[in-house]
Symmetry: C2
Subunit: 214 residues, 2 copies
DNA sequence: GATTTATTGAAACATATGTTTAATATCTTC
DNA sequence: GAAGATATTAAACATATGTTTCAATAAATC
């Protein structure tokens, strides 16, 4: 047996790749081992041989995806922090949106994360701790620089949710969005347009927030 | 055989109720006929006897839910149109949010609709046409009264999506939202707070929109 | 009240799917 | 090149689940 990726034949890798795509496409429940191994050009047994089972394959995959996602997040966040205040939000929104429009081979990393929000498995807690919370914290930091200094923390977190909501909705609700706004294509250009609108809408909101007493 | 609800024994009705709850809870795929009939106190055969199959049961249920939803929408929209301009948005947001916090017996009507957005079945098209589009149109009307008269239609529709996004996110992302903002309880009081924030945030955005030329 | 129809119940059937087994092939190492 | 470890394959197994069958029972009709 071999656990490391480079040592053994590429069957393990092909299964990982195929599983990533299919889990991202259909979710854990609807993905079947037989479809995965077929796409990987491997035998049904391959999943159990290399990963001990469907669930363990999913966990392995998820940890891969999480690692790549957090690395990319950290890299991007560093870059964004160096931007002028009023451009940071745009950078953040664009970063979130772009992850989902990647070329197919890579796209499943992000889609897998998003799926977890839709139909949670046992990995949800892990993901909230490692991906969602850091992103949320970063967004809160960006917002804090844009609003009145006496704005309460609760208010800022609510605004953060409002902005996240718009990003998530564009991806996850794409079927509906593209029917209601056919002008929005799900390409790199379309994403620019989405990011521009979300940023503009949210900046306008933040700059116009009423004071916190009520 | 009997198709009307009042004529035959109440088995058919009990199955409908149980199915509504379970489909809303778990989605079409994960709901099983055996669990449905068990909760309804009926035999496995009941589903096939009264509805010809699982899918047909789902369709029947969905049409029921849709009818009730659209009726309630129309009633509420009429009421909201009578409000002053600046209160209409708040009324609309509150209406959307409240539907999901109903007492359990009724909640599945709305939850079933929301599920369709998450894991679409063949009913998605039907639902977009009958529920989503009318709601979207209503929201667009409300927004149009609040912005500069030369604001483009595309811009207005983008804003409508931004507002819908926030509403949907509060319901559909409740697991995460309540972790990031523990102050937000999913009770009637909590919903008031959500509605207040979403309205305030969005009104601020709309009032501050830049002009459309670019 | 007998006959027909509608409803219910238990079991069987067919299929899909995760998992295991055991045989075969391939590779490594001495 | 032989022996043992590693990898692959095909088949079988176990379970879950939608569906069907058919007999038993209840309800309706005449």
């Amino acid at each position: 047996m071999c656990a490391d990726s480079d040592v053994c034949g590429d069957t393990r890798q092909r299964v990982l790749q195929a599983a990533g795509e299919i889990f991202a496409e259909k979710g854990y429940g609807k993905a079947t081992i037989r479809e995965i191994v077929e796409r990987a050009g491997a035998n049904v047994n391959a999943v159990n041989y290399y990963f001990r089972g469907k669930r363990e394959l999913y966990v392995a995959l998820f940890e891969d995806a999480h690692k790549e996602t957090t690395q990319e997040d950290e890299r991007e966040f560093k870059r964004i922090r160096a931007l002028p205040n009023d451009q940071q939000l745009h950078g953040f929104v664009k970063h979130l949106l772009k992850a989902f429009i990647h070329k197919e081979e890579r796209a499943w990393h992000s889609q897998l994360m998003l799926r977890e929000l839709i139909e949670p498995t046992a990995m949800l807690e892990f993901m909230i701790a490692r991906v969602v919370r850091p992103r949320f914290a970063e967004l809160v930091m960006i917002i804090r620089q844009l609003v009145n200094s006496n704005t309460s923390d609760l208010r800022i977190r609510l605004c953060a949710e409002s902005i996240l909501a718009q990003c998530v909705h564009m991806i996850h609700g794409r079927t509906i969005v593209s029917k209601l706004i056919p002008e929005l294509e799900y390409t790199l250009g379309g994403v620019e347009m989405m990011a521009k609108h979300i940023t503009q809408f949210s900046l306008a909101a933040l700059q116009n927030l009423e004071s916190d007493d009520e």
